[in-house]
Structure formats: structure tokens, C-alpha cells
């Protein structure tokens, strides 16, 4: 049973466009949602996170939109750059970042 789902599996955008990565979850107990960025050959790195009490979190070009009722969230990457090309993982956990459940990831390619 996959508790955290991500779509699309892969995404290609042009430099300057906004990339939208989607995530949904099943467990109502999840209240902390980190997004990780992973480059080939490296481990995932925390990019941005949100708590379920918020519906939006911004950090520079990265924004999370969160819909608790529908159990959905999305990561928007504005003004995409080729250096943003990576795999992005949505994760979820109850009670903080103690034991996150990961999605399968979205592979993003940004063409110059």
C-alpha cells in the first residue's frame, strides 16, 4: 500500500517556466510534509517543508500549496533553471520529521 503518491513520474519544462509537482497522501495522521531534492549520485536534501496547519509555504522560487481536506499538496518551482533538474521526493510523517514516508519521486528536467 503506497501511502504517498507523486505525479507526474517525470516532467520536462523550459527554463523560466513554472514546474508543478503533485503529491497526495492517505494517512490523516500525517502532519509534516518535507520535499527533498536529489541529484544523481547524492543523497536527498531537504528543500522545503510545510506543516498541516498551513496551506502555503514559500521559500524563494519554491512554494508548497497544501489542501488538507483533499489530502493533496504540490510543489511549484517558479522561473525554473537547468540547475533545478533533479528528482524531487514528497514525504509525509506524523508528529514531525521522525519517520517520514516517501513517495516514488518526480524526475524534473529543465531545458535551457
Amino acid at each position: 500500500q503506497q501511502q504517498v503518491r507523486q505525479s507526474p513520474q517525470s516532467l520536462t519544462v523550459w527554463e523560466g517556466e513554472t514546474a508543478i509537482l503533485n503529491c497526495s497522501y492517505e494517512n490523516s495522521a500525517f502532519d509534516y510534509f518535507p520535499w527533498y531534492q536529489q541529484f544523481p549520485g547524492e543523497g536527498p536534501a531537504l528543500l522545503i517543508s510545510i506543516l498541516s496547519v498551513s496551506d502555503k509555504k514559500e521559500d524563494g522560487r519554491f512554494t508548497i500549496f497544501f489542501n488538507k481536506r483533499e489530502k493533496k499538496l504540490s510543489l511549484h518551482i517558479a522561473d525554473s533553471q537547468p540547475g533545478d533538474s533533479a528528482t524531487y521526493f514528497c514525504a509525509a510523517s506524523p508528529g514531525g520529521n521522525y519517520k517520514p514516508t516517501f513517495g516514488k519521486g518526480t524526475s524534473l528536467v529543465v531545458h535551457p
Binding site: K99, F102, K104, G105
Partner: protein, 113 residues
């Protein structure tokens, strides 16, 4: 930023042998984690470790798995004996406190033949 190191980066062993995966966590961190990622699948939590003890483990953390961090040295994951289904990338992570940001290592790619 803070770096977590993992040694070795790749390991190939025969089924039934023992393997030890080593993790050098961020120096002042207190919580340590192992995750397993099979090719094409999501990364899955195996175990977390604090103050010399396993705090929580998942059903993937089989009896053949063990973790330890003797005297503040490497945080290790030992698999004895290994099975074919243990082939995966194993990621180590550490955090200062249990609720804090986890910093991941680059992973050890384990292939069991």
C-alpha cells in the same frame, strides 16, 4: 551544509555473506537513521537510533539486520546473512534532534549475487 559520509559507495557480495555498511554522521547529531531504496521504488524507512538504542524500526528491518554506533564512531548497518532481496541503495541520515531536519548521505549501493 552538514555532510554525512557513507562507506563504501558500492558493495558486491555473495548471498549468505555478511556485510557492514558504514555511516559517518554529522559530528554533533544525536539521531541516526537508515533507509532502503530499491531501484525504481520509493525510499523506505528501516530504523532510527538514539542514545545507543533502536528507537523504532519498520517491518523491513529483518532479524538479519542490526545497527550500532560503538563509542561515537561510525553508525553501522550489518546484514547477516544477506539475501538477494537485500540488493538496494541504503541511505544513512542524521539529525540533531528527533524532529529536526535529517541530513542524508550519498548512499551505499549494495548488490547481492
Amino acid at each position: 551544509g552538514p555532510k554525512v559520509l557513507q562507506i563504501p559507495s558500492h558493495q558486491i557480495i555473495d548471498m549468505g555473506q555478511m556485510v557492514t555498511l558504514n555511516c559517518d554522521p554529522v559530528s554533533n547529531h544525536l539521531y541516526f537513521y537508515w533507509y532502503k531504496q530499491i531501484l525504481g521504488q520509493q525510499m523506505e524507512f528501516l530504523v532510527n537510533f538514539y542514545n545507543g538504542k533502536v528507537m523504532e524500526k519498520s517491518k523491513l528491518f529483518k532479524d538479519q539486520f542490526s545497527v550500532e554506533r560503538p563509542d561515537g564512531s561510525y553508525f553501522t548497518l550489518k546484514i547477516q546473512p544477506t539475501a538477494l532481496e537485500d540488493s538496494a541503495v541504503y541511505f544513512c541520515a542524521s539529525s540533531l534532534l528527533g524532529q529536526d531536519t535529517q541530513y542524508f548521505g550519498p548512499g551505499t549501493r549494495l548488490l547481492v549475487l
